[in-house]
């Protein structure tokens, strides 16, 4: 039977594979699962991998699907997803390049499927995307505007005429886009800082006033933010 240090190495490798599971499942069960796997290796040796690998192959997709279905049960999330994909598709097609379309959609898919990595850390265990949509009527417009800026920033990497545009322009555009989305997620928890980020992020679309639609969306966001009150007491969203 393996000694203690060998068992620990097996456990470390198994723990690394825990990343395959959804975050919530991992947070709750990774420790006991690793402990259990260590017990198995201690008692039966490395052949336990022959059981663990098929078990991972069977249960990771199951847990992933369960987690995704739990998210999709919220109509607001579906609406958000639809807005983001629609925005990304429109912008990518407008660039005319097949590569832009593929890259933009891939980025959107990664952003949506891995959103908990971006959203969970500063906000506890709430559902930021849902709150972003349900909090106020203008939030979907702001969300679409933010997503458009991110996708536009990605497209700029390929479409700009020089490296300055490619690097600085695209970085700025993506930064403003992320700031908008970040502000939307932040707002239900801290209205003032969320609104600050949102309004700062409307600068690029307001500057591109001749394109008409983005500045109009930015104006809608400004109206919404100011109408709802720029600052307020800390807002705690209702429990799910």
């Amino acid at each position: 039977m393996p000694d203690r240090s060998t068992t620990r190495r097996h456990q470390a490798l198994y723990r690394a594979l825990m990343v395959l599971y959804p975050r919530a499942f991992r947070a709750r069960y990774a420790d006991p699962m690793v402990q259990l796997f260590g017990d198995q290796v201690r008692d039966f040796g490395a052949r336990m991998w022959l059981r663990a690998v098929p078990d991972l192959a069977r249960t990771v997709p199951t847990q992933r699907i369960e987690a995704t279905m739990a998210h999709l049960s919220s109509g607001a999330r579906v609406l958000t997803l639809a807005f983001v994909v629609l925005g990304a598709t429109v912008v990518a097609i407008s660039f005319g390049g097949g590569a832009s379309l593929v890259i933009a959609l891939a980025v959107v898919v990664v952003l949506v499927t891995q959103r908990h990595h971006f959203a969970s850390i500063p906000f506890g265990d709430r559902a930021p995307l849902r709150h972003a949509v349900v909090q106020v009527w203008w939030a979907p417009v702001a969300g679409l505007l933010g997503a458009l800026m991110v996708v536009f920033g990605i497209g700029t990497i390929f479409e700009a005429q020089n490296w300055g545009g490619r690097i600085v322009g695209s970085s700025l555009m993506m930064a403003f886009g992320f700031a908008m989305l970040f502000g939307l997620m932040r707002r239900p928890f801290d209205r003032q800082s969320g609104n600050t980020l949102i309004l700062l992020a409307t600068i690029p679309p307001l500057l591109f006033f001749w394109v008409i639609v983005p500045p109009l969306m930015a104006i809608i966001v400004w109206i919404g933010v100011l109408q709802g009150g720029f600052s307020d007491d800390r807002v705690v969203p209702a429990a799910r």
Binding site: F25, M33, Q35, L36, Q40, D55, R58, T59
Partner: protein, 125 residues
Amino acid sequence: MTDAENPEAFLPLPSATLHILVALTAGEKHGYAIMRDVEALTDGAVRMGPGTLYGSIKRMLADGLIEEAAERPDPEPDDQRRRYYRLTGLGERLCALELARLEALVRRAGSPEWARRRVPRLREA
């Protein structure tokens, strides 16, 4: 009517759920003890991996069939990360109902009346 008031709504139970419930009828246990007991109960026919076990435990906790035990009945030196589980009242009722259902199934499948209805090639079995 809620599921807690109507345990029949859970039946038939998934195989892993039933085996875990039966293992926990002997008292509260941690994951590895459950796994070993399930193997012993089934003569090694059912071997759950950690993902299967804890995936089932997650659903059973959500359904209120089991609960996490605060105290640790069998403390070991490397015991800190272990979680102990025990049956709830609903879990106990459900386990008894499912076992009764399976007993009835086995009884009927072995009855002379059912034997007459079997297709000819299975009558010898």
